[in-house]
Symmetry: C2
Subunit: 203 residues, 2 copies
Amino acid sequence: MHIVCLDLEGVLIPEIWIAVSKAAGLDGLARTTREEADYDKLMKGRLDILAANNLRLADLQAIVKGMEPLEGALDFVRTLRGRVQFVLLSDTFDQFARGILEKLNWPTLFCNTLEVAPDGVITGYKIRQQDGKRCAVRAFKSINARVFAAGDSFNDLSMLREADAACLFRAPQAIVEQCPDLAATDSFDGLLEKIDVFLQESP
Amino acid sequence: MHIVCLDLEGVLIPEIWIAVSKAAGLDGLARTTREEADYDKLMKGRLDILAANNLRLADLQAIVKGMEPLEGALDFVRTLRGRVQFVLLSDTFDQFARGILEKLNWPTLFCNTLEVAPDGVITGYKIRQQDGKRCAVRAFKSINARVFAAGDSFNDLSMLREADAACLFRAPQAIVEQCPDLAATDSFDGLLEKIDVFLQESP
């Protein structure tokens, strides 16, 4: 059995926090795991900004619902599903992502959870586990799946290196240069090609 | 994070081998894991019958492509996807199931693989691992997911008992009676209710 593990933001949809930053006019929310490798530091900063501006879960959900998948992403998902099982591994939050998953025809997503007070204020967040993407790949390998992984950020590197085959997808030049051990592509066609090679090489 | 694990045949689609049996007019293919708990014995018998009747993979795929999901299954899948992540755990074969997965809008499926000769003759089969459904539930628990499972057959029992919560779905009376420890329901509404309770009880 083969499983393809994909990062979500920057691969199939735009970065959610950048979209929120633009829609809410709050520049401080625009930092992502591309710029800040310390995820906890990143998230605490985001929650502080939300609280200071009285933004609640429903406000963020409305913004995410208005987002669209990246150009070509829906076709890519359709093609991929005809060839191999795939799962999205993301550091985003379930309550966020739901609004845009529908537009991708409900791919399976393993991610994290926001802690929300009854009045809708986001009070914190629950990480499923540390290094969760890598652990998910390891869990798939433990059930004898062969795993291919693709992602664009710092937080994808351990997942990519744990997988049987992998490639960076639209990663910033700095990450591509820091990771000469990883293949890289910027197009969905290029990604499909690499996945096809993986499917043929390890039946 | 929550994951719902569902058996495929008898839950969302009819039993594939029964459909093949009817379409090919071969009664011997109609036995399933409901009647025969020894899966290897069951599969070897099926492959012998296929070989004796010169049925190849393409013949079986054409039959499966003509199948339809069970009544209400597509609505159930749609509703479920809006509430929780779910994965199909099945002892069927990837090359079979693909034809009907599309009609369910491509849910994620972990299953087994047929071994097929270049001329399309099915020469054998590859089980991903022994007790694969249970191992998949265990793998999901290892990444800190809370797991709900539902299925109808002997080969689902270890998966159901490994899960944090579970229920039999449209199981034969004999299995329901042999398993007083497991809840049981025969309707998609009943199953959704049990899943909702699970989501509320273990946030």
